[in-house]
Symmetry: C2
Subunit: 322 residues, 2 copies
Amino acid sequence: MQQLLDEYIQPIFDNPLLAAKNDSAVFPVTAGQLAFTTDSYVVKPLFFPGGDIGKLAVCGTLNDLAMSGAKPLYLTCSLILEEGFALKDLRRILTSMQETAVSAGVQIVTGDTKVVEHGKADGIYINTAGVGILDTEKTLNTKAIQADDVIIINSDLGRHGLAVMLEREGFDFEHHIHSDCADLSSLVNDLMQADIKIHCMRDLTRGGLASTLIELAVSAKLAFEIQQAAIPVHDDVRSLCEILGFDPLYIANEGCFALCVPASHAKQTLKVMHRHPLGKQATIIGQVKQAIEQEGYVSLITEFGIARGLDLLSGEQLPRIC
Amino acid sequence: MQQLLDEYIQPIFDNPLLAAKNDSAVFPVTAGQLAFTTDSYVVKPLFFPGGDIGKLAVCGTLNDLAMSGAKPLYLTCSLILEEGFALKDLRRILTSMQETAVSAGVQIVTGDTKVVEHGKADGIYINTAGVGILDTEKTLNTKAIQADDVIIINSDLGRHGLAVMLEREGFDFEHHIHSDCADLSSLVNDLMQADIKIHCMRDLTRGGLASTLIELAVSAKLAFEIQQAAIPVHDDVRSLCEILGFDPLYIANEGCFALCVPASHAKQTLKVMHRHPLGKQATIIGQVKQAIEQEGYVSLITEFGIARGLDLLSGEQLPRIC
């Protein structure tokens, strides 16, 4: 364990807080609001087109911090390793974590490693927790969503879930689907720095766009209406979903988010987003409305102009995707 | 997943930050130093005399914060559940986490749940991360340890590791060994409030007292000398260790810690500790010395007056203990 720490984890995550080898990382904070989040990652397979469990574990936690409007500062890394897990794979995963962290300007400052018997843990499970700081004036939450807000997403849907599933099942389709796994914090930072009144942001992970919007609408006690024709979906994703019987609206993404802003701020929001590599496809997909019959109702206006209500799926469409 | 969250996790951990269901918990902090830590728990079995994986997951992270001199504030709870895990066991574990958190005055404010296939994860793995605040003047670390410091521990050794191992292996010994699993933060708070110049604290978890002291001595570039006769070990622990061939100095504890303080503060330290239920057995077990031949050397003066050097064990004496 000491050897693992000294030869792999410390040199790769190399920073003074981690090197201090204390039970906790200790760092100064200024007065304000702190955001605190965690996620465990059990994705199968560990490597997939567009990413790996390490990149995912860093991006996922950075994105959870970013969605609250916070600037990510520090991350933890807790590993559950299966006995006999290949050290070259561990090195590759840790390196991927570090590259993603460095590029986001954050440090992995403390962690933990446990080993379980062969046959448990599918090689590796990773937990990351993160802290970030917020501008006190800009706390975002579902209660801030208002009727007439526009709903914007930054990117096309469904790539992460499909990329992982295709890799796992070994389907022999010819396709160009890579996971959208990405750190959204710099795009969010651009939005926070611009004078835009963001009411709420949420990343479109488990359950995809549909589940996320239903959760937001329920919590805000409002209704959402989205236009199917406005929702970007890559052609390969669309075709494969048709063949496999999936709905791209319910597939997990790891680099997509939705935000609700006042209609008067929509143009400025899109302008800021379009300037960022992860926001080039940013587009308005719908509006928030007063709830008439049912709070939390999300209706999809199909390409044929017919409205249908979206439901929460029971069970996951694709398990072990993140 | 939604149901699990709404019917189990939210009602048990019941607090407004968690109920906000945001991607991150957001709370105010004052300027100062923040301590941040994490641990994953894979203990087997999940329930053992003196505790369970839930109590362990909260105490372990509280103790890591406390060892840095921080007052714990908020925790996360990330679950990896095996498909089919009994909901009554989940409820029991979450309730145990909440009881421990409430009694320590902290809140579990955010979390995550993943489900893996039957046969993986042994029912449940838990990760907790925690944040706490420090008095800026009182940062503790191994560099602060000085020659002539005394080494004090709060309690007898070896109970946690043995209690878990006996429960797991189903040995039919008659014994009264309960895990020492406990939240040390209130005892540490008493010490921090008293005017004691603590140089360093460390909990005696994986690898036990011996491994912990070696790590401290190596990091401090000093030598430690401890007296075997001064180290409290429960009679049942001592006898079972003899029968089973274990060394109590290397067994994991979950409610024991060592601290280094100047000799002039020893009396006051013991006085404060003896007033607390978890410090009644507090005692001086040794001294810090200048390293003569080898930095990081820890010598044990046996009951026969012979000095022997302690080594780091390769591999864990008892795996899956925390």
